[in-house]
Amino acid sequence: MTATPLRLEEVHSYYGKSHILQGVTLTVGPGEVVTLLGRNGAGKTTTLKTISGLVRAAAGTISFFGADITAARAHVSARNGLALVPENRGIFGLLSVEENLKIAVRKGSVWTMDDVYRHFPRLKERRRNGGAQLSGGEQQMLAIARALLNGPKLLMLDEPVEGLAPVVVDEIVAQIRDIRSSGIPILLVEQNLAVCSELADRHYILELGRVAYEGSREQFIADAAVKDKYLGVGA
């Protein structure tokens, strides 16, 4: 029986004295795509940062495939297969696409450069271009590809389709679906409801630093009141 890829229990974290996460409990199961929704200020990005270790959890526990990573440093978790694609993508603008990718290659990863170029033909075309010259969508693909080259055991994405044109959104959604079918569990923070409904097995909604709702794909699609209350202005 495989260990749960990710489990958070009553996690609290702060920015200085600002109490952002006030007891977050959630899980990501094997092969699942789970989305984390919520209005601005609810704590979605902080949750991802706390999991990855960029922000130190003040209380609660985080376990990654059974191992306690609550106090683990970010680079250690990353080495162990916890990949985060942040909102700002983190592309090295001065390096070429190929160089950005080569840095991330890890021995023993299921994904190789060839796999990446096959999955993201656009990146192959632009492989000699500088990172800063890419469009928003291409940068997002590069960021995801880089995470894959690391051979992640869990992938976390922070608003991957924000600010992208509909056509590009479709492309990225398709790529995420492919990644999911390769078996990697995914934790997705996203505000775009259509994207969430298409991809996710389960949804969590954060409100004021806590999980206010958990539902399956079907439950979530059907429940308009919940969406209004926690994502809209229905309070």
Binding site: Y14, S18, R39, L193
Partner: protein, 255 residues
């Protein structure tokens, strides 16, 4: 119908090629509590920066208390009666709480602070204002402690106090309850409602409970524009607002 205390006409802010705010026309009635809400990237904080003078608008005008203040710097707007609090607490952390408020009170008449020979303790007026606010904010107990020693809730209250101390007509509060626990939120909600009695309050919030409960009017922004404005009830039932928050295929909008 009374004249608006604050109004803007086609206000726009551009950072290079990026348009953060465009064609925003507002009209705020005196002694009302007016909230500004909107999804990610709506431009709410940019609006505040433009209103307080921290950034210069690329287009449009701002009128306050009958005067065109578009060209005024932020410190001069404070002296006209327009004050703000910040989303990320920005106090004089090493100084005592009372001194924080005394400085904020002094800011209404800063040229008096150029008196290099007058001891600060002789500053009766500013000290009195500071003490009054300490009482009103329930911070009198910690008046002598340095600001950084306060709890988060107390610091957020002091943040609001800094805006109150210059005795403004209009107070802008940027996410006053950010990072607060339930109890502190309730206290802050009461404080804002209370402020509305003798000030005009304009505040940005994500906590819909507070927004709907205490606002007289709500302005909804999206992608740098004013989407719609109305009473809390009108906003709650408005399908455009719903769509703005819950989205369609296109996201928050910086394509």
């Amino acid at each position: 119908m009374t004249a608006a205390i604050l109004s803007t006409d086609g206000l726009g802010v551009r950072y290079g090629s990026f348009t953060a705010l465009s064609e925003v026309s507002l009209s705020i009635q005196p002694n009302t509590i007016h909230s500004v809400i909107g999804p990610n990237g709506a431009g709410k904080t940019t609006l505040f920066h433009a209103l307080t003078g921290r950034v210069r608008p690329s287009s449009g005008r701002i009128f306050f208390d009958g005067h065109d203040i578009t060209a005024l710097t932020d410190d001069r707007r404070v002296r006209r009666g327009l004050a703000r609090s910040f989303q990320v607490t920005s106090l004089f952390h090493r100084l005592p709480v009372r001194e924080n408020l005394r400085l904020a009170a002094q800011g209404r008449a800063p040229w008096q602070a150029l008196k290099m020979w007058q001891s600060a303790d002789r500053n009766r007026e500013a000290i009195t204002v500071a003490d009054t606010i300490l009482e009103r904010l329930d911070l009198a107990r910690v008046a002598g402690r340095s600001a950084e020693e306060l709890s988060h809730g107390q610091q957020r209250r002091l943040e609001v106090g800094m805006a109150m101390a210059s005795r403004p007509f209009l107070i802008l509060l940027d996410e006053p309850t950010s990072g607060m626990g339930i109890d502190d939120i309730a206290t802050m909600k009461q404080l804002i409602a209370d402020l509305g009695r003798d000030h005009t309050v304009l505040f940005i919030e994500h906590n819909m409970g507070i927004v709907m409960d205490i606002s007289d009017r709500v302005t909804v922004m999206q992608s740098g524009r004013k989407l719609v404005e109305g009473t809390p009830g009108e906003i709650r039932d408005n399908p455009e607002v719903r769509r703005a928050y819950l989205g369609s295929m296109m996201t928050g909008g910086r394509a």
